[in-house]
Amino acid sequence: MAHLDLTAVEQIVRRIGTGQDRLLELLHALQDHFGYLPCEALQRLSEITGISPADIWGVATFYDRFRHSPAGRHTIHVCVGTACHVKGAELVHEAFRRYLKIPEGQDTDQQMRFTVMKVACLGCCTLAPAVQIDGITYGHLTGESVGQVLEDFLQRQASRQADIQARPAKKDRMAAQIRIGLGSCCQARGSAGLYSALKEVLSERGLDAEVKTVGCVGMCHQTPLLELIIGDKSYLYARVRPEDLDQIIGRHIQSPRPLRALVVAAKRSLDQLIAGPLEQHNHAILLEPRDRPVQEFLGNQIRIVTECSGQIDPLDLGQYIEAGGFAGLRRCLDGLSAEYVIEQIRISGLRGRGGAGFPTYAKWAAVRAQQTQPKYVICNGDEGDPGAFMDRMLMESYPFRIIEGMTIAAWCVGAREGFFYIRAEYPLALQRIQKAIQICTEGGYLGRSIMGTDFSLDLRIIPGAGAFVCGEETAMIASIEGRRGHPRFRPPFPAEHGLWGRPTLINNVETFATVPWILRNGGSALAAIGTQTSKGTKVFALAGKVARGGLIEVPMGIKIRQIVEQIGGGCAEGRPFKAVQVGGPSGGSISAELDHLGIDYETLNEAGAMMGSGGLVVLDEGDCMVDMARYFLQFTQNQSCGKCAFCRIGTRRMLEILDAICQGQGKEQDLDELWNLAQMVQKASLCGLGKTAPKPVLTSLRYFRSEYIAHLQGRCPAGRCRALIRYMITDKCNGCTLCAQHCPAEAIGWTPYQQHAIDQTRCIKCGTCKAVCPCNAVRVE
């Protein structure tokens, strides 16, 4: 092996610092530099920083993001989040591996070109199934389309290579990026050709712009959304039609040469989110809701956390202040007492939006009551649940609101230092919060003497590194301190014994984002919304088999039916609505029969689910509930930190029982064993991850036991479990040979003009034949 140049390690340490609380940042930087974490570099890191070898090695091997062997030149992240899972992510993952001929047990092809990895959730749920290749997101993949995607990606690379030669400066190369939302609703509106049309327009004009497909930001029913990013400015268009493209592109990017000038000029102007009938001359931006679905979608929503949705620029402090931003903080600093503010929070009935629903005021009061100093505040932005992306959207869209809420909290409890813990899978959120902190510090809203008073607060970002368990508050504290993300027993709670043993307030992104509104409108205004026990609103990521997926903010107590049918527009593919999965891996699937239930903390708990952070995945008759339980357990099992025996081994054994059932090898006593073990893991695990991991299993056993029994008898009623199904070609077959051409396993004979047949011994059940068949002649039994 070539000798490794370790001088970069010194430079990185000089830039970032030597404290153990810098360890995650240091490791991220090392990985950015080397492409992985070479052992020698880590050893050097220990020598320079004095952080113990055990800590460095333990932390470096704890998180998913850190690699210990060189990766391919490009990384394909296949999202296996809930929405992607139900839409066949597993098949896509396999298809990439097959296409690249990656040997069993490895993740990189022989030529070291591509590394294929699963990622828990990219938060592009409406693009499901989605993949990200080196930051470029592709959506709606099938096993069949992976070849095209890779081809497309490599073409881009080639043109980029040329680019780099011409203009080596990285920023220029990225000067223009066009993002297109390609949610399922886009396709429904007959505009699937937008992507190719855009490429055409760009090539006609000889423009160098990266075209990126992204998930939508809550207006999925108004898509296609098109976002132009020029330099660090962004312009968002809604309802774009192919014929609008020429005009839009022409307005922002004239030609390669003036582009530079435009970028310079644009720097002085402000980012603009064009999302209203402001620009009359362009059809593409008509956003006024005229049709009923739009009314239904919006009419059921209340905007508190997402106040000014689509109206203000995320990083425009002036606009935020104009919309009432920092008025809450000003009131505090102008003479309110902390007791008064905490009382308002109490009156508001605000409860933790991270999932558990602990009364927010009680946490604040507990930290405030502590006599020791220093104290800390932490914003939990480690939204790890697959199928949830509310916090990402809030951080990307309303960074100032979160900072204001956090600042008010810090002032109330007496903290002078705070941390944003944000998962690394959210680069844009990291970037926006970073920028927002800088803007606030420059504007006197953070740092020393905030708004001219003697109150000071410094905020810092800790980038997560891919560990779901770090969303648990004690694990998060360990992670910030630069240790493995192992939780510890509570009590003592962080309010008493938190970061470095000091009193620490930890609230979720959404919780903090609600605070400024309460300060401006009073606690009772929030309390007027919602149910007896659950006040205010909740942001949900609505995804899965629903027609209109997206991000929604709804009042607590709203009925499941209202969300699925009115806001979501029912099931997209016409199959009957079967269940809604609430709360991700910590929650459960609530049967459609219970769609009259209102969504609040208590009702969901009683139904066996949990509010969680707010993922709502709609399932239809094509979804297998045993498979769903297995899917979530696979996730939590994989994310278990390993500290306590119940979670480490118990979730594994539960998963193995479920695997056997899905394979058709389950035995009758397995159901009892599964139930008993699930109960034990729930009762005796150390932290929230283990205590809630059995919920998806327990709810599915409770509501869908008959499906389990069907599996024991060798049937998967939804036709999902591959060991229990087979693909058949019916007499609808016209003998076009498409299936035979595309079958990757050569399981279909070439019989032109005759009915084809599948060799079951060769069939790998990838579903390609079904996808390519033009006459719907492939049936799943």
Binding site: F62, P491, R648, R653, M680, L686
Partner: protein, 517 residues
């Protein structure tokens, strides 16, 4: 100072005390594997779970601090169930054997590996003690036994099994020829008197272990000499001199011998029952025919007894050996003699009769060649030693050479393992959860230590100890979740990871994961 109630008892402890420590201070033992005095608990094994009033879930006592007025319950069926489940989960991923396959195959369950290691170290006194603890007549047994132990020996899958039977013979015969052969020191004398009817292998073995336990024994037999059917074995297979010498070591424990007396004819069983606290019938294969004479019921094979306790339907009358089931295997008869002695002893002491209970035993199960290749690393690579003089058996030198071939399949900490002790206590079943488990591995890159990752329960005690003793590299957890393992940073060897505190780690490790070589 907080006052709390633990299992109905009021306990006062300083603030900040954990429930576990508070319970201990009150003499209430809560099981734990990841707690270490001075280091505290690790909330890893979760065996210390208890119930705290007002708390819905189970609470780890090693981490939960006491509070004034707290009410704690340390044991009830649900807590027991949780602990048992925790143990069963740990055991489902515990790749190691407590006892070696040879010991399990031996009818007497002799601790064969311990005997072999004693021979290897030329510790003959130690070796004979191990042998005689389970086999009353090892010299006789080694001439007649068909050695199931050697069929189970893992070494046999690599080349040939360890010649266990010859090694046992070596130990036994060297002892018989010694100036003062091994004589057990009887436990404190007891007032109990037991009659053993039959001086065959089962009867003699039974008498031997009863005498060892301090019970006064009278042996009745209708033959003129003790030995029973062993006297019928040909000289070629069992030299008379050897038989006499070995029987002598048994009689020397102070047995009263009543030869030439047939119980049921010369003396009624009734009389024995009235004169002795218990009667053992080891009357051989003809027992079935004598049953009615004795007033006992019989089945097709022999006397009817309770299979666990060897009790006949007459109180205080036990039966064993060929009298119950003809097996014609001297090792089995000897083993049964010892087992029955155990039951009789429990009976005369008024204790519940359980016999010799097999302790919990973790099994690896079938091992593949890769495992064997690792196991042989610490053993002699030589083929099986052939005694120069086949008739005489091993010389001590040959025996030591052969003993070095043993793979040490048994756990180095079988006697001190906390996991085994608790698995026994909670009657955990290792087979409850089947599924993937770690691979067997031996880490041998430390001069004094052996690390067996398959036996690690991730309690973290050694990780904390290496930190406490400020090891240069120390140990850390690597990876996460089910795949989490223990290792030395930067891929260094164990010798670099543990330079200072090996003794502390071995002592504190609750399983056989870290042990002396």
């Amino acid at each position: 100072m907080p006052i709390l109630v633990i299992d109905g008892r009021s306990v006062t402890v300083p603030p900040g005390t954990t429930i576990l420590e508070a319970a201990r201070s009150a003499g209430i033992e809560i099981p734990t594997l990841c707690f270490l005095e001075g280091l505290g608990g690790g909330t890893s094994c979760m065996l210390c779970v208890v119930k705290v009033s007002g708390v819905r879930d189970l609470v780890p006592a090693c981490a939960a601090k006491v509070a004034d007025g707290m009410e704690v319950l340390t044991s009830d069926p649900q807590i027991h169930q949780a602990r048992r489940t925790a143990l069963e989960l740990l055991l489902s991923d515990h790749v190691g054997d407590c006892m070696a396959p040879c010991q399990l195959a031996c009818p007497a369950h002799m601790v064969i590996p311990a005997m072999i290691r004693a021979i290897a170290q030329a510790d003959l006194a130690g070796a004979i003690r191990v042998v005689k603890s389970t086999i009353a007549m090892p010299a006789v047994a080694s001439r007649l036994c068909n050695a199931p132990c050697q069929k189970a020996c893992r070494r046999g899958r690599l080349d040939e099994p360890v010649a266990i039977c010859l090694l046992k013979r070596l130990v036994a015969e060297l002892d018989l020829h010694a100036p003062s052969p091994f004589a057990p020191t009887p436990e404190a004398p007891r007032s109990a008197r037991v009659a053993v009817v039959g001086a065959g292998p089962a009867g003699l073995a039974c008498a031997y272990y009863l005498a060892w336990a301090g019970i006064s024994v009278t042996v009745f037999d209708d033959r003129s000499e003790p030995g029973g059917t062993l006297r019928d074995v040909g000289e070629k297979f069992l030299p008379r001199g050897l038989l006499d010498a070995e029987i002598r070591t048994i009689l020397d424990t102070g047995l009263q011998m009543q030869m030439g007396i047939r119980v049921g004819k010369d003396i009624p069983l009734r009389t024995l029952r009235s004169q002795f606290n218990a009667v053992v019938l080891a009357i051989g294969a003809t027992a079935g025919q004598q049953a009615s004479q004795l007033g006992l019921s019989a089945g097709a094979d022999g006397l009817s007894v309770d299979s666990q306790t060897y009790q006949t339907d007459l109180p205080g009358v036990f039966a064993a050996g060929d009298a119950v089931r003809p097996r014609r295997m001297v090792s089995r008869a000897l083993a049964e003699g010892r087992a029955i002695a155990h039951c009789v002893r429990q009976y005369v002491q008024g204790m519940p009769i359980q016999g010799i209970r097999m302790p919990f035993n973790s099994h690896i199960g079938q091992v593949d060649r890769g495992v064997l290749d690792q196991m042989i690393l610490l053993a002699s690579k030589d083929r099986q030693v052939r005694p120069v003089e086949e008739q005489v058996g091993f010389s001590l030198a040959e025996g030591r050479q052969e003993a070095a071939r043993c793979l040490h399949c048994d756990c180095r900490k079988a006697q001190s393992c906390g996991l085994r002790r608790l698995a026994d206590l909670y009657q955990a079943r290792q087979s409850r959860f089947k599924g993937s488990r770690r691979a067997f591995a031996l880490v041998l890159d430390h001069p004094d230590l052996i690390y067996e990752p398959g036996k690690c329960i991730s309690c973290g005690i050694c990780v904390r100890l290496t930190r406490l003793y400020q090891e240069r590299y120390g140990l850390t957890f690597i990876g996460r979740g089910f795949q989490m393992g223990l290792g030395v940073p930067f891929g260094k060897g164990l010798a670099e990871g543990i330079e200072r505190c090996a003794a502390h780690c071995v002592r504190a490790c609750p399983t056989g994961a870290l042990a002396w070589r």
